[in-house]
Structure formats: structure tokens, C-alpha cells
Symmetry: C2
Subunit: 150 residues, 2 copies
DNA sequence: AAACTTATTGCGAATAACTCTGATTAAAAT
DNA sequence: ATTTTAATCAGAGTTATTCGCAATAAGTTT
């Protein structure tokens, strides 16, 4: 959970600046209910309703920046757009089981997987940002019967 | 490794048809060198060069269909488009460590992860299509120094 | 505190990955 | 051989995301 100052610190370290927009975006994700994920458009509308609007291009730019920094994680469930959520450490870090047809997502945790992620990244000399097991599947409702005879 | 007949069988089971285009696409992936992945556009160009061209819309439709069937897997490394590869069973099944900046991808195997995937899907009553651990990271070359003084 | 540098914003236009439409073709069933 | 309807192709259309640029303001230097 980044405080405003912590956010400033990690931004400035790279030469980036702390802007009100960036704080607003981070706060929106921190306040988000567990299990919820936001698309760029979702966030845009949420902030509009909150009376703290931010332009869509700024939202896109910062969602990408904050994901690349490891503050947010980019999720690819829905067919045509990305979703985002906070990239949280160990006790809250989780993975997703998703139905490729209706996009329903179920979250679950797994420490062993996190360990694999850390060790593989280290082994290859990479700086780990996020590791996520994504299980693509068909939910009970979407796995239809083979084909009903005439 | 699907034979032409096996492909026909799984297609017909759902009321789909075996077309020369579908065979061509599957064959292209089966011939693909280990560690390689194709985007829709890549495949389009490959087939054009092979003198077995297929229209782009047909390619898109079938990449999606075959992914939803579990024959191919959809990978999300590059920023703006998907990549595909064969969805192979246990001895060849693998995961990816990718650099979010330059999109370099390293493959690795892990049976424990596959087990987690299978058990979680079963537990929730989902029909498993594919499970992939994606490790987002910065490769050695892309993790630049913090900021060089003037 | 004022001046300075340049990262960031917002707007609208542009891009490009992907989807849709509708006429034509051709699998599979009868 | 005939019938049914899924699939293909080409091109138009959609839309998530990016880009360009003038205006603004964060952080730094004086
Ligand atoms: Mn989640
Ligand atoms: Mn691969
Ligand atoms: Zn479903
Ligand atoms: Zn890299």
C-alpha cells in the first residue's frame, strides 16, 4: 500500500513526477473492492463520477507506466481490452481462473507459484514485476452439450 | 499432435467443419520451430509465402476458434497484439518469462504449476483449456540505471 | 521566491488490431 | 445428386489505444 510520499519516491527515482492525476489513479485502485478489476474506460468513468476527472489519454499513459513500474498489474481476461488491479505482495497476491467465453473470473492464491516466478526471474537475471498464473477454461454454464441430435 | 482426421473429429463433434484453411493453419503451427510464436499477421504472411494464402479474417476467426477449443494457446506478450502457439500436453507444455519493455520471451517448464492449474479448474467445475504462468519482468538490458547525474 | 527546464496533461486526430457484412463457396448430411 | 448451412473472402467498419502538439506545472536551480 503506497502512501503519497512512497509513490513520489519511486517516481522521482526514475525521473518521473508525482502528479495529482497519478495520485488519484493509485487511490482509486487502493479503494477498489477486493476481486474487482478496472479497464481504462471503467476508471475514466469512475473518476468522472467522483468529480476528479482525468483525460482518457492520461489514464492510458499512466496505467501503462504504473504497470511497467510494478505498481499495477495488467490482466487480460476480456477479449478486447485490458483490466488492471493493484499489484499486491504476498498475502494478497493472487491468480485468476477465467472462462474464455463469458469472462467470469475467479481469484485464488498460491505461494508455490509465486516462488517459481521469483526463482525463474532471478535465474535469468530479470527484474521481476509480476507473475500471474492464468487458467483459461470454460465455466460450467458455458461448456455446452456436444450437439443435440435432430 | 493432431492428425487431419483427429482435427476433423473434434471439429465435427461440435458441428464445425474441417476446411483446408483450418488444416493449413494447424499444420503451420505444428511445423513451427520450438520457442516461436505467431501473431495473426505473422501467420498471414507465412502462408502467403508458402503459396497457401488465407484471408486475414479467416485467420482471425480460426485463431480464436482453435484457441477456444484448446488446440492453440493465446499468448499476450507484445503490447498491441496476441501471439499464438500450439497448446501441447505435458512434456512440451511450458510457461513464459517476458520482458515488458522489449518483449523478449524465455520459455520454461513446470509440472507443479500444471497441477495447480488442473486442480483449481476441477475444483471450480471448469473445463480446463490452458494454464500459463506469465512472468512479467525487465530483462537485464532493459532495467536501466536509476538516473545518471548530469 | 522567481526563473528555468522539461515531464505531463488534455484534446482531437490518427492508428491498427480486430470484427462484421453479405454474397459466394463448399463441407457434411440425406 | 440434392440439400442444408457453416465457412470463406474482400472490404468496410469498429474501437481500444496511441500520437502530436500547445499549454501547464513538478521539481530544480538560482
Ligand atoms: Mn484479481
Ligand atoms: Mn511458447
Ligand atoms: Zn462462462
Ligand atoms: Zn528487455
Amino acid at each position: 500500500m503506497y502512501s503519497s510520499n512512497a509513490l513520489k519516491a519511486v517516481l522521482n527515482e526514475k525521473g518521473w513526477r508525482l502528479t495529482p492525476q497519478r495520485e488519484t489513479i493509485l487511490t482509486a485502485f487502493q479503494r477498489l473492492q477486493k476481486g474487482k478489476h478496472l479497464s481504462a474506460e471503467d476508471l475514466y468513468e469512475l473518476l468522472e463520477q467522483q468529480e476528479t476527472p482525468i483525460s482518457l489519454s492520461t489514464i492510458y499513459r499512466n496505467l501503462k507506466l504504473m504497470s511497467h513500474m510494478g505498481i499495477l498489474r495488467e490482466l487480460e481476461f476480456a477479449e478486447d481490452h485490458k483490466h488492471y488491479e493493484l499489484n499486491q505482495p504476498s498475502p494478497n497476491h493472487h491468480h485468476h481462473l477465467i472462462c474464455v467465453k463469458c469472462n467470469q473470473a475467479i481469484e485464488f492464491k498460491s505461494d508455490p507459484i509465486q516462488k517459481v516466478g521469483k526463482s525463474k526471474a532471478k535465474q535469468a537475471g530479470f527484474h521481476l514485476l509480476d507473475c500471474q498464473l492464468t487458467i483459461h477454461a470454460l465455466c460450467p454454464r458455458c461448456k455446452k452439450p456436444a450437439k443435440s441430435a435432430s
